[in-house]
């Protein structure tokens, strides 16, 4: 961002707007692709074809869906709290979109070069919880309230393991700035934090089991953070119908939907930046560079997103108490052990 220092106020504003629109464009394109991917993966898991009529293998279907949603009547039920009802989807989307500012898409592109990047992401994506509670409350529907309350309890609980897992990454890389974190692992696949980072061999061998466990826990916790199966209780189809967004329709509903998908990539992006080398090429210097870096980053993120989709169409759902049990009595203690062990190994 130093290059833009002497541009004057208006030009700086223009550059800021253009640069901040880039993640938005990315989110929208990504959402279209992932909705298509989700439907196709679901279909193939279930031994069927999914949409085949709109374009080649139905590739235009997400666009058709999007246009349909744009045209839909905007329904706000009479008993709803109008102001909150209208505000809620924007807050949810804001929380997600804001977090994209600190995501290092490539070696030359990061929205905001802040030193507390990871901290910023965790903090601002907590805004989503407020939006969800708002949506559930404003809908004035008992089932929606259930969804919202479950969602808040779940996301607040699972933030603990997520943050602890990120803390492990911070301990090894020594930075909260995701750009720095990525540069730390630039040496190729053997230098990724999931395999112990660029440490001396003995330390690396000792540390690897713990980092792998931490990564797995981060992945599980991130599933709960974004309300995906097996932690999709807030929108448990068979109990709460759609949870906190049952009463929403048209574009407001689409905003929730896009925010959910954007969140899926967000949590994957954090995991990729801290554990899987970010935009770094798995082959070290070969096949690296700003554009290829973007490719690697998106590829790694999409692999994790694919895993989330795969799990969703395979597993049943947990119950509320089992969900809390998993967070507090399984994930958190394991992470404490990992943190202590990794700390000791690093001090050695």
């Amino acid at each position: 961002m130093d290059a833009f220092q002497n541009l004057g106020f208006w030009r700086t504003l223009l550059v800021t707007v253009v640069l901040s629109a880039l993640p938005l464009v990315f989110i929208l394109l990504y959402a279209l692709v992932t909705i298509y991917l989700e439907m196709k993966v679901a279909a193939h898991v279930q031994d069927r074809l999914a949409y085949m009529r709109t374009g080649w293998h139905g590739v235009l279907q997400p666009i058709a869906d999007f246009i349909k949603l744009l045209q839909k009547e905007d329904i706000i039920s009479v008993a709803a709290d109008r102001k909150l009802f209208i505000l809620a989807p924007y807050i949810v989307f804001m929380g997600t979109y804001g977090a994209y500012a600190a995501i290092p898409f490539s070696s030359i592109f990061i929205g905001a070069q802040i030193d507390l990047g990871a901290f910023f992401i965790v903090a601002i994506s907590s805004l989503v919880v407020v939006g969800i509670l708002m949506a559930g409350w404003a809908s004035n529907n008992k089932w929606s309230i259930f969804g919202a309350v479950r969602s808040v309890a779940q996301m607040v609980s699972y933030e603990i393991p997520t943050v602890l897992a990120i803390l492990v990454g911070v301990m090894i890389t020594g930075s909260l700035n995701l750009q720095e974190v990525t540069k730390f692992q630039a040496g190729g696949i053997q230098d990724w934090v999931i395999f112990g980072g660029p440490l001396p061999l003995l330390q690396k061998l000792l540390i690897t089991p713990f980092t792998v466990i931490t990564f797995l826990i981060l992945f599980v916790a991130s599933l709960a953070e974004v309300n995906r199966t097996p932690f999709d209780l807030p929108e448990a189809e068979s109990e709460l119908v759609q949870g906190f967004f049952t009463e929403y329709s048209g574009m407001r509903w689409a905003l929730f939907y896009v925010a959910e998908y954007a969140n899926m990539f967000l949590v994957s992006a954090v995991a990729v930046a801290y554990f899987l080398g970010g935009w770094g090429s798995p082959f070290g210097e070969t096949l690296s560079g700003p554009v290829l870096g973007f490719f690697w980053f998106v590829l790694k993120g999409m692999v994790l997103v694919f895993l989330q989709i795969w799990l969703r169409w395979t597993l049943p759902r947990l119950r509320v108490d089992q969900l809390m049990y998993t967070a507090w009595k399984v994930l958190v203690p394991f992470l404490f052990v990992c943190i202590v062990a990794i700390g000791l190994i690093l001090v050695l």
Partner: protein, 395 residues
């Protein structure tokens, strides 16, 4: 009579005021919410009025009647006995063949007619195919209740093959009107036996696949074991039947204990819940009973196909059916339990009274008793494991 013990409650909490640490009294209140009649997990138009304290259920009150069609009154106003059969189809639309079977059995017992052997064997094959189809719906939708969508489509794929067999035989895929008084509407087509055998060999590994995908899934077991436990004595007192009763460990199957058709000539054993994953009579037990019954049905079908005799598919019966004045109660083991028809004849050409004892209705009555103290998510599973069909509950 066995005494009803107080039911185990898992998350027992007492509603009422809560004392905070600062000494203030917080008033807590129960909330009443409606599940249904439009709700994905009530399997039709059942309305459950739920009293909850947080997520914990204090009471459940089922409200039924949204699908009432005056079946029994209709039956009295037909021009003859045969015309009741299509109405029987519509009782339990997931297992229409079994409904017909019960009714024609009642009328045949009134007429005291002997059926050709071939009819009985074909009836057994059809009834067991229908049982598999019905259980597939039950376990598939049960997977959805637990949050797993994929098993549902696996189940429906296989059910489709059974419906193809039915379509090949009588042209209908859901409501067949296939069992007639004294016989069948059509003989089976020549290629039916081979196709049915092919289905049996295809379907056995699929049951195992389904079990791997859902039944023995760690999360699924965690969700269903020790949930909605229906103790033996409660099951008996509420007159539960079918997989509900057998899931609670009571070895009672009308196909063996009140034999009809040719079930007594075939080798098979009823399946009961053994509490492998938790307590006897929990939701998982009812699920596994259905899974195992499908395997049993396969073996019955194979035996019946192997022993299928040649012959006529219609007994000689009078053109106008006029049973002697009297009454009869005939019952069969349908996928949901004991379906009985109590038919009274006054000697005329139409039944004086037809009363259907619907297993889904009787089994549903136990729902409040086993749901108290559970969570909302459990209630969905318990209702799924009761396997109600609202067409039969409301009649």
């Amino acid at each position: 009579m066995i005494e009803t013990k107080s039911l185990p409650t898992q998350y027992a909490s007492q509603p009422g005021p809560v004392q905070t640490s600062s000494g203030k009294t917080l008033r807590t209140d129960e909330m009443i919410i409606n599940m249904g009649p439009q709700h994905p997990s009530t399997h039709g138009v059942l309305r459950l009025e739920i009293v909850v304290e947080g997520e914990i259920i204090i009471d459940v009150i089922p409200h039924i009647g949204y699908l009432h069609r005056c079946f029994e009154k209709h039956a009295e106003h037909m021009t003859n006995y045969q015309q009741v059969i299509p109405y029987c189809d519509r009782l339990d639309y997931c297992a229409a063949i079994n409904d017909e079977h019960s009714y024609v059995l009642a009328v045949e017992r009134m007429l005291k007619i002997e059926l050709p052997e071939r009819v009985e064997y074909i009836r057994v094959v059809m009834a067991e195919l229908q049982r598999i189809a019905s259980h597939l719906i039950a376990v598939g939708t049960f997977g959805i209740d637990a949050g797993a969508f994929t098993p549902f489509l696996y189940a429906f794929h296989d059910r489709e093959l059974i419906l193809d067999l039915f379509e090949m035989t009588c042209g209908a895929r859901l409501l067949y009107n296939y069992f007639w008084i004294g016989g069948l509407s059509h003989d089976i087509p020549p290629q039916f036996v081979d196709k049915a055998k092919q289905f049996c060999t295809y379907f056995r590994p699929r049951i195992k696949e389904f079990n791997d995908l859902l039944t023995y899934n760690e999360i699924f077991v965690k969700r269903t074991a020790n949930v909605g436990v229906l103790p033996k004595d409660v099951a008996l007192n509420y007159a539960c039947s079918g997989p509900m009763l057998r899931g609670s460990g009571i070895n009672w199957d009308l196909r063996r204990d009140d034999p009809y058709s040719v079930y007594h000539k075939l080798q098979w054993e009823p399946q009961i819940g053994k509490g492998e994953m938790g307590t006897v009579g929990d939701v998982w037990d009812r699920h596994i009973v259905r899974m195992r019954e499908m395997e049993v049905s396969l073996s019955i079908i194979e035996q019946a196909l192997a022993a299928l005799p040649e012959g006529n598919v219609q007994a000689a019966i009078p053109k106008r059916i006029r049973p002697d004045a009297g009454e009869v109660y005939a019952r069969t083991e349908t996928p949901r339990g004991e379906l009985g028809f109590y038919v009274i004849s006054d000697g005329s050409g139409t039944p004086f009274r037809v009363k259907a004892r619907a297993p889904a209705f009787v089994n549903l009555s136990v729902l409040p008793a086993i749901s108290r103290g559970c969570m909302i998510a459990d209630l969905v599973l318990i209702a799924g494991s009761v396997d109600i069909v609202l067409g039969q509950v409301d009649r």
